[in-house]
Every structure is written in structure tokens, then in C-alpha cells.
């Protein structure tokens, strides 16, 4: 598929040349316009993929639930996103009476903007990246946490008790699941020695003499916890307590309709796709792969992860809010911390480069041996913690059943006697 690569390169050089010649009086403006064009392409890609993803999600979830999904609008329902788009544009927008106008109107815009700016640092192919920030991994998480305030804006600006309550709960959930994400990106950064996403991918490919092992082999526990935290961060099922219609009536965006609601929706899907891309970059090796061109590999991996998201949505029931918080603070965070400390110690004990062994000491092993050691350690921690959690859960359940039995016996005795 190299001709396509070459064609794209020729095209981009051509466009850059045109812009350079138009703005030859000011190289700064030329740079700016090129960057603007690249940003426009990225935003359009995100928006188009949002439309495609809504359709794919509805179809896949429908099939899991043994039904057909959208099949009325156009052949196989393929024009459904278009129909949804037209609906979003033409629906009336009822602003509630005492809502704070500025805050109410700005909130969906801020969420959509933050969701879209995560695509600025994702590497799509070698050399095709919006900007190779040397704090890329950090930046992704910061953007994720920056969009949390917009939810509070939406909840407060709606002047609605339920919206406010939903906003509080949503923020508590999002803020809680940031912590395992942070703690589990750390082993990846330690292994790659850099926060730049391009460097992280390089460490997982066979460039620079690396053995080309994706980080999911090194840190399966980190990958699992990061994936689940990512699902919780985007508010998808089974963590969608906050927008379930039967619960708190759509949560913080209950007073929004039309385009503003569409922006919330877009933010959620764009975020989910970004999590899929980020997971592929951190743990699956990004655009690296043997035969197919790089961007096809990245899209395949991200599509696989997104399919797992849809699979979970169609299969699992909604998780209760206290279960969700317990899972986060009492399972994910302690396990992530223990895993981090163990990984640190092991990575210092077993080093792979002779220069490092000489400088700071440690046992020299081959990269594959280090991968095996870390894999075994990670899986051991995962299985042990799962066993402990299962045992605690069983003990708790038996205790609850014993109390229920006793109460039932008392009630019978009190009534029957």
C-alpha cells in the first residue's frame, strides 16, 4: 500500500507549497494557515467518525439484543446518521426560564471543544501527527479532566434540581476514575522513558533496536484498569447511571435539546473514540504492524477496542453508584498503586541495556525476559487482587444473607405467635 502513502505525501507537500507561496510575505502566517488546515482535517475526521459511530453502535447493540437496529432510513439504515443530523438541526431549543444564559449556552460548546482537542496529539502514521508534544500523555489526561468543569456549568446553568444533582454525581464519577487512569499511564511512561506519544509507539515497534513488544504484554493489569477507567470516564454503559432515563432523567443535560444536546452527544462519542485511539497507542502499539499501512493498523486497533466498548454496552447491566465508587477507590486505586510500586522495583532490578546496568546497577536481561518477568508480576497482582475481592464479596454476601435470614425468622416469629 505504499503508493497511497506516497500519494498522500505528494498531496500534502503540494498543499503546503501552495500555502507557502500565497503567504510568502509572512512565514508565520503560512505556518498558521497550514496548522489551521490540519486542525480542520482532524476536526472533520472526528465529526464524520462520530456520525458513522452512532450508526455502527446502534446496529451492533441491536444485533447483540437479537434485533435489527436502524434499517428504515436508506439502504440498511445507512442514512440514519443523516436523518439524526437533520433532526438535531431543526429541533426547537427550549431554554428554561431562569437559566443563566451564558453558562447554559457555553457548556456544550466547551465539552465538544475539549473532546476534539484530544486528537491534536494522536499519531496516525509515522510523521502524521498534529503535534508531537513532549508531554503528550500528560496532555491527554489534562484535557480529559478539563472538560469536567463544563459538566458543572451545564448542570448549574440549567436551573434545574435534577440537572444539578446529575452534574454532581457525574463529576464525582469522572473525577474518581481519573486516578486509576493517571496511575496506570505511569508504567507506560516509565517503560518508554518519555511522555511523547510518538516515542511511546517507537518503543513498541522494532525501530531503534527494540524487540517490538506492545506494552499490553508488559502491563496487562494496567491495560485492563486503563480500559475500564476509560469506559467510566466517557460515561458509557455500564457506567451510564448518570444519564439513564429511568434514573435521574438524563442527568445534567435534561434541559438541553436540539443542537446543544447533539454537541453533548458528539462529545461523548468523540471522547470514546479518543479513548480507543489512546489505548491503542499506549498499549497496543499504535500504528505499528507488519504488512498493512500504518493508519489502517491504527484504525483496526481502535475499531477493535470500540467494538469491545459496544459489546460491554450491549451485555452488561447498569452498575449501581455505590458499587461504582467502591470499585474505583477500594479496588482499582490500591491495586494500581501496588502494581506501580512492584513494577518500579522490578524495572530497576532487571534492566535491558548494558550502559544502564553499569551506571545504576541491576541484573542484565534480554528485553524479552524483562517482558516475561513484568507480565508474570502483573498477572499475579491481578489474579491475587481479584481473588481477594471475590473472597470479600462472598463473605459480605453470606453476612447479608445471614442477617436477612435472622430478620425473616424474627418476623415470622413475631407475626405467627
Amino acid at each position: 500500500m505504499n503508493p497511497i502513502n506516497d500519494l498522500l505525501r505528494i498531496l500534502s507537500d503540494f498543499v503546503a507549497g501552495i500555502i507557502g507561496s500565497i503567504f510568502s510575505f509572512s512565514p508565520f502566517l503560512a505556518d498558521l494557515v497550514t496548522m489551521g488546515l490540519a486542525a480542520l482535517i482532524l476536526c472533520t475526521f472526528a465529526a464524520l467518525s462520530f456520525m458513522g459511530l452512532t450508526y455502527v453502535e446502534r446496529k451492533v447493540v441491536a444485533r447483540i439484543q437479537d434485533r435489527l437496529g436502524p434499517n428504515q432510513a436508506g439502504p440498511l439504515g445507512l442514512l440514519q446518521p443523516l436523518a439524526d443530523g437533520i433532526k438535531m438541526f431543526t429541533k426547537e431549543d427550549t431554554t428554561p426560564a431562569n437559566a443563566d444564559r451564558w453558562v447554559y449556552n457555553l457548556a456544550p460548546l466547551v465539552i465538544a471543544i475539549f473532546a476534539l482537542t484530544t486528537y491534536a496529539v494522536l499519531p496516525f502514521a509515522p510523521g502524521v501527527v498534529g503535534t508531537n508534544l513532549n508531554v503528550g500523555a500528560f496532555y491527554l489526561i489534562a484535557i480529559g479532566s478539563g472538560s469536567i468543569v463544563a459538566i458543572l456549568m451545564a448542570g448549574w446553568g440549567s436551573n434545574n434540581k435534577y440537572a444539578l444533582l446529575g452534574a454532581f454525581r457525574t463529576v464525582a464519577q469522572l473525577v474518581g476514575y481519573e486516578v486509576p487512569m493517571l496511575l496506570n499511564v505511569l508504567p507506560v511512561v516509565m517503560m518508554a522513558g518519555s511522555m511523547s506519544l510518538v516515542d511511546i509507539i517507537h518503543k513498541q515497534t522494532t525501530l531503534d533496536g527494540n524487540p517490538g513488544i506492545p506494552f499490553i504484554v508488559f502491563f496487562p493489569l494496567s491495560a485492563l484498569v486503563f480500559l475500564i477507567s476509560g469506559i467510566a470516564e466517557t460515561g458509557r454503559s455500564p457506567f451510564d447511571l448518570l444519564e439513564a432515563e429511568s434514573e435521574i432523567v438524563a442527568g445534567f443535560h435534561v434541559e438541553y435539546s436540539g443542537m446543544k444536546f447533539a454537541l453533548f452527544f458528539l462529545g461523548e462519542y468523540v471522547n470514546a473514540l479518543a479513548v480507543a485511539f489512546v489505548f491503542s497507542t499506549f498499549f497496543l502499539g499504535g500504528y505499528a504492524g507488519p504488512i498493512l499501512p500504518p493508519y489502517i493498523w491504527l484504525l483496526l486497533k481502535a475499531a477493535f477496542i470500540f467494538f469491545i466498548f459496544m459489546w460491554l454496552r450491549g451485555t452488561l447491566p447498569r452498575i449501581r453508584i455505590d458499587q461504582m465508587h467502591n470499585l474505583n477507590w477500594k479496588f482499582f486505586v490500591p491495586v494500581s498503586i501496588v502494581h506501580l510500586v512492584v513494577v518500579m522495583v522490578l524495572m530497576k532490578l532487571f534492566v535491558t541495556s548494558p550502559a544502564q546496568a553499569q551506571a545504576v546497577g541491576g541484573i542484565l536481561v534480554t528485553p524479552i525476559a524483562q517482558a516475561v518477568i513484568l507480565f508474570i508480576a502483573s498477572m499475579t497482582i491481578l489474579l491475587v487482587s481479584l481473588a481477594i475481592a471475590a473472597q470479600r464479596a462472598r463473605a459480605l454476601r453470606l453476612q447479608e444473607e445471614a442477617i436477612l435470614e435472622r430478620r425473616r425468622a424474627e418476623n415470622l416469629a413475631a407475626v405467627g405467635a
Binding site: W102, F138, A142, S145, G146, V149, A409, A414, A417
Partner: protein, 236 residues
């Protein structure tokens, strides 16, 4: 005027304007939002200083965590809407501010800060014939008065410095302990116990209920009941 200078002016105006709005507005929630805008501006200033790490850290901590904390604290105060803040210390505050300003002028005056419009906002300290000083390991002579550029490896340098015994190891460990203490204090304050009377009252009521239930049972069913049932009723 280079682009950086224009950007610096714009961002500084935004930050100052937002800060002014925060202290003068009556709507607490809008004040919190303007504070977030000020934080963004400060992150932009860090970017202008070429320290991307601090810019992103600013967004993560201040906007992602502390702003949420502040907004939650604002929500905790009742009657947030329609509050009329009154300031009875305005005169005293103005006098104190004027005194501090005068003192600062006296201290910083002799420094003879010269502003070179071509390189502004990089200002030159210790201009003229001031004696060279040592600041941060760099000898500031009148010759090299520009701020040295941030090295490419500043992130790993910072990381190494954090755990270096001769540099920032002690503050690093102290941060952990300080944050521990802060968390313990906040949890202790937030878990206010009800007054002891309420607890006692509840206990009394529970005992009375248990006695009543037992008396009823003894009157209607003389057959022996398992001890466990009665004891657990008293427990509840």
C-alpha cells in the same frame, strides 16, 4: 512587536480581567468560572515560557481538581443566589495595600529595572553597574541578562532533581506527608458527629422498643423462643 509579545499582552489582559471580575462580581458561580479562565491564561503564560510540563500540570491540577473543589465549596454555602456581600473592612484594606505598595517601591526601586522594548517582556534585572549575583546557579552579570532557554531535556532533569538528595528530595517527601495531613484533617472535619444526646436518645428508644416487643411476645406466646431472635431484636 513579535508574536510572543502580542500573545503575552493578550493573555495577561485576559488573566487580569478575569481576576478583576472574580473579586468584584456578586454571582459566585460566575466568579468560579472566571477564575478558571484566569487559570487557562496562566497555563498559556507557561507555554510562552516554553515549559509545557507546567502548563499541562496547571490545567490538570488547577482546572481539573481545584476549580471543582472551589465550585463544590461554593455550592456548599447556602443561599448562594441572591447574596449581597458587604465589606466592612474596605478602608483598612485600602490603607494596608497602599502601605505595602510603598514598601515594595522602596525595596525594588534601587534595582533600576531597564525595559528594552525590542526584547520585552524579557526584562533585565541588575542593570547598569550592579554587582553580579548568583541566582539558581547562574551568575547574573550585566552581560548575560537574558533568561536562559529551557533545555530540551527539562522533564527528565526535573524528575532527577526531585529525587536527588542534594536538590529537592526533602521537599518531595514533605509534600507527601503534608498532603496526608491535609487529607486526614479534611476527613476529620467533614465527618462531623452528631451530638451525643441524639445518640443516647436513639439508644433509649431502641431499648424501650425491645422491652415492649418482648413483653408482647411473652404475653401472647408462652412457648420458648430461640434466644437469638430476642437478642437480635434488641440489637436492632
Amino acid at each position: 512587536m513579535t508574536v510572543q509579545q502580542v500573545l503575552f499582552i493578550v493573555i495577561s489582559l485576559a488573566v487580569l480581567g478575569a481576576a478583576l471580575f472574580v473579586v468584584t462580581t456578586r454571582n459566585l458561580f460566575r466568579a468560579a468560572l472566571m477564575m478558571i479562565l484566569a487559570f487557562f491564561g496562566i497555563a498559556g503564560l507557561f507555554v510562552l515560557l516554553e515549559i509545557g510540563l507546567f502548563a499541562v500540570a496547571q490545567v490538570l491540577i488547577y482546572i481539573g481538581a481545584i476549580s471543582i473543589l472551589v465550585i463544590f465549596a461554593v455550592m456548599l454555602t447556602r443561599g448562594m443566589q441572591g447574596m449581597v456581600p458587604r465589606n466592612s473592612q474596605a478602608v483598612g484594606a485600602a490603607v494596608t495595600a497602599a502601605i505595602i505598595f510603598a514598601v515594595l517601591l522602596l525595596i525594588l526601586g534601587p534595582l533600576r529595572v531597564t525595559v528594552d522594548l525590542a526584547r520585552w517582556p524579557v526584562i533585565s534585572l541588575f542593570a547598569g553597574n550592579a554587582s553580579p549575583r548568583e541566582v539558581g546557579g547562574i551568575a547574573w552579570t550585566p552581560a548575560n541578562q537574558a533568561i536562559p532557554p529551557v533545555p530540551e531535556t527539562y522533564i527528565s532533569d526535573f524528575g532527577r532533581a526531585l529525587v536527588d538528595l542534594n536538590q529537592y528530595l526533602l521537599p518531595f517527601l514533605l509534600i507527601a506527608f503534608l498532603v496526608d495531613v491535609v487529607l486526614a484533617g479534611a476527613i476529620f472535619i467533614a465527618r462531623q458527629r452528631r451530638p451525643a444526646e441524639v445518640i443516647e436518645e436513639r439508644q433509649l428508644r431502641a431499648e424501650e422498643d425491645a422491652e415492649e416487643a418482648e413483653a408482647m411476645r411473652r404475653a401472647s406466646a408462652p412457648s420458648a423462643l430461640p434466644e437469638g431472635a430476642v437478642a437480635s431484636a434488641a440489637d436492632h
